[in-house]
């Protein structure tokens, strides 16, 4: 019997046909093609834990202990259905794995009771995983038949939520690490660069720069030391695809990093990860330890003469550190401020050495590209942008979650076909794509095929791929104001256009989304002047800011001015929010029947807008009201309402 280590390494470099039958059996066990006892997998990634996966897991343990059953309880990542968490899957010996949604602690026993009696529970079934040689459950749809999965092409995210992120064996049994072994055994550094260039892979963090070119630049710069940095500082609010990749399949990322580091001839790699991503850190930490133990990291990897160390660096939290030069500054122990390019990091980066910074999703693409070849990869997606892109969709959408689609797919497919469109009874108004530096896409443009070029043509950006769905009850101007306030807070303060521009923009947007506190002529004039300057301010920021943060900060303003001018006008001229979500623009009224005339609202009103006599209904003078809502909060009889 081979040792575990030898077996796994053999598995990683062999085709399935060359295995002995005993080895095949071990592989099937690792791959969970066969299970000897019932397997219960709980999504313990962040989205699951927030929804209560921890309690569900405890409940399962309790259930098993009460009945002294012999089952295997394992953790997994998220399959992407974020709004349906906690997702739990169960695989009985000989049967296919079946997935359940919203399995809270109280539902555990009824679901497990039914399943152990070979009955499909009536509620909460998502579907079953298609697998040859396993008996399927009757009347349960296969996952690949459900629109959510059927319309996706999961080449990067495919194993998330299916495999155990703590098990190296399972990753290898599913074909993992064969790409890295192939790379170090049969390619030179330059050949790997060329292979990736040929595949047409482009950086997934937003810029869309060809990965192969970036590598070549670093590879060709002579230096005693080169660095590869994995950018896992995913700080766009609303983007969680990188986190999901790290939590669901950390070994895939590490294999990608190993390939990239080899390609540029570097033996030192860093993962710069947000310190808030505790679950992802835990998984990657574990993965690095396992790889070291098995000899796939360290000195002289498998006698190839190639050394590689990967270390984890926790980012102390700054949005601007997603920019590569700022990230490098932060790694060096300085304030995370960007510097002007050139010199590009690929010639002078971390500690002045050539450094390649790649994003998690980009690196996670590499193992499959090396395994299946650049031609196969080029066959997916569009001509100029091969491959897939993961979008994280949240907001007012029927199902929030992660969607991986080929490039060239439309927003319409992503939001309407895959995720079921707007929430019940609501109407889709717009999509905000790309986080705080992204663009508002109106419904009319939802049929544009998504690729870097197409979007650029329309004046839009893809960003990191976060999509916020807005319906008729959300206010465009208010959302833009939120983004601007966020960027203002996150601006590093190095260059003036960004530091001052974002502050002024936030002020202007703030002034349109609330009622003026006094109605003197010059304040209205000032406010109006500000609004008229939004456009020119945006242009100055775009042209003169140092880094991508400042250059892209006006994107939300510019795109909404273009496509939602009427909403701005309503706010400015009528002082009314069409979707009624700007709290400070609401008009407040007192219900005559409910008001007891206690006078507390009149006493607390800061603008003396409430008049009346005690023990009779009070009245709000709309002209004086500043919309603060204090009357609403203090009223004990719920007599105050807004329209």
């Amino acid at each position: 019997m081979q040792s575990e280590k030898e077996f796994l390494l053999r598995l990683a470099q062999l085709d399935a046909t060359e295995l002995t039958s005993e080895e095949q059996g071990r592989k099937d066990l690792l791959k969970r093609s066969t299970v000897t006892r019932a397997l219960v997998m709980v999504n313990s990634s962040t989205s699951g834990m927030v929804a209560g996966a921890g309690q569900s897991m405890e409940a399962i343990k309790q259930y098993v202990a009460d009945r002294s059953l012999d089952i295997e309880l394992a953790e997994t990542g998220s399959i992407g259905l974020s709004s349906e968490e906690p997702v739990v899957s169960v695989q009985l010996p000989g049967r296919t794995r079946i997935f359940f949604r919203r399995v809270s602690a109280d539902k555990v026993s009824s679901i497990l009771d039914d399943l152990f009696h070979q009955v499909v529970p009536g509620q909460g079934v998502i579907g079953q995983l298609r697998h040859e040689g396993q008996e399927a459950w009757a009347d349960v749809p296969f996952l690949d038949e459900i629109p959510f999965f059927a319309l996706q092409k999961r080449i990067v995210m495919g194993a998330c939520g299916i495999i155990d992120p703590f098990s190296f064996g399972e990753y290898v049994a599913n074909g993992g690490y064969s790409a890295f072994l192939k790379t170090i055994r049969s390619f030179t550094f330059n050949e790997v660069c060329e292979l990736v260039e040929e595949s047409g892979l482009r950086g997934r963090s937003g810029g869309g720069f060809p990965t192969g070119l970036k590598w070549k630049a670093a590879f060709k710069t002579p230096s005693d030391q080169k660095y590869l940095v994995c950018n896992a500082e995913e700080s766009d609010p609303g983007a969680f695809m990188d986190r999901n990749l790290m939590e669901g399949n950390p070994f895939q990322l590490l294999e990608g990093i190993s390939i990239a580091a080899y390609a540029i001839g570097s033996n030192r790699a860093y993962i710069y990860i947000r310190s808030e991503y505790r679950d992802a850190i835990r998984r990657i930490d574990n993965a690095i330890k396992e790889l070291r133990a098995i000899g796939l990291l360290g000195d002289n990897i498998l006698d190839s003469g190639y050394n590689l160390q990967i270390s984890l660096r926790k980012g102390p939290g700054a949005f601007v550190c997603g920019e590569e030069t700022a990230l490098i500054a932060s790694l060096e122990g300085r304030r995370g401020m960007p510097s002007s390019k050139p010199p590009y990091p690929s010639s002078s980066g971390y500690l002045g050495r050539p450094t390649v910074v790649n994003n998690v999703e980009t690196l996670s693409n590499l193992p499959v590209i090396v395994r299946k070849g650049p031609k196969w990869f080029r066959g997916i997606g569009s001509e100029k942008c091969p491959g897939t892109k993961i979008f994280s969709v949240s907001g007012r959408v029927a199902m929030a979650g992660l969607v991986e689609v080929p490039m060239g797919c439309t927003f319409d497919t992503i939001v309407n076909d895959i995720l079921g469109g707007a929430q019940k009874g609501r109407e889709l108004k717009a999509l905000h794509v790309g986080g705080p530096l992204g663009c508002m896409v109106p419904v009319e443009l939802m049929n544009v095929p998504v690729s870097y070029e197409n979007l650029k043509e329309k004046g839009l950006v893809m960003g990191s791929g976060g999509i916020l769905v807005m319906d008729d009850k959300t206010c465009v101007v208010n959302t833009v104001r939120y983004f601007m306030e966020y960027v203002d807070k996150q601006s590093c303060g190095k260059c003036i256009p960004c530091r001052e521009g974002t502050r002024r923009m936030a002020e202007i947007l703030g002034s349109i989304t609330r009622k003026p506190e006094d109605e003197e002529d010059h304040t209205s004039l000032e406010r109006f002047k500000g609004v008229m300057q939004l456009e020119s301010l945006a242009e100055v920021m775009k042209d003169t800011s140092l880094c991508g943060l400042g250059q892209n900060a006006p994107n939300p303003v510019m795109s909404t001015l273009k496509y939602f001018r009427n909403e701005y006008e309503e706010h400015i001229f009528k002082r009314k929010c069409p979707s009624n979500s700007c709290t400070e623009l609401r008009s407040w009224f007192i219900d005559v029947d409910m008001c007891t005339g206690c006078s507390i609202c009149a006493k607390r009103c800061p603008s003396e807008a409430i008049i009346g006599t005690a023990r009779h209904p009070y009245f709000i003078v709309q002209e004086k009201c500043i919309g603060c809502g204090i009357c609403y909060e203090v009223c004990k009889f719920s007599a105050v309402y807004y329209k």
């Binding site: 962040t46 989205s47 834990m49 927030v50 929804a51 209560g52 259905l81 974020s82 709004s83 349906e84 968490e85 700080s235 766009d236 609010p237 609303g238 983007a239 969680f240 986190r243 310190s275 808030e276 991503y277 660096r313 926790k314 102390p316 939290g317 700054a318 949005f319 932060s330 790694l331 060096e332 122990g333 300085r334 304030r335 995370g336 500690l351 994280s392 949240s394 907001g395 007012r396 929030a400 979650g401 905000h432 986080g435 705080p436 976060g466 916020l468 807005m470 959300t474 959302t479 939120y482 983004f483 966020y486 996150q490 590093c492 709290t583």
Partner: protein, 157 residues
Amino acid sequence: MENHASRIEDILRRFPQIKRNALIPLLQAMQDEFGYISEEAVASIGSHLSLPTSKVYGLATFYNQFTFSPRGMYHVVLCNGTSCHMGGAGELLNEITKLLEIIDGETTRDGMFSLEVQSCIGACGQSPVMAVNGTYYSGIGVKEVRDIIKQYREDAE
């Protein structure tokens, strides 16, 4: 205080290399150990790395992770990501600020509660999300927040 100083020494000993790029990991180790960065910690990191205290403090204030007052008994984390904001996180924040009379990064005078606003917790499907000492509350409104805070207050007393 003796204890505090010796714990700082222990942490410094874990970073024997006197290099600028050890600064952030050092500060993070302090933050993890004490829950905040004390004046003494800033000063001793400065002398350990031969950096002016002003530089250390300047760097620490740049990043969101570092706080300068001790954490409360209950650490409230509120997500104000895009999705949570749309779900009403702004109103929740107002409510918490009103109830506890603290803003982001502060601790109440009695040391019971501290507040941290995060840009995105990463659970956009369940917005708005709040966490108290690691226990998550999702899909909550103003009323629930009031109840939760009240519950913790009662528990403490």
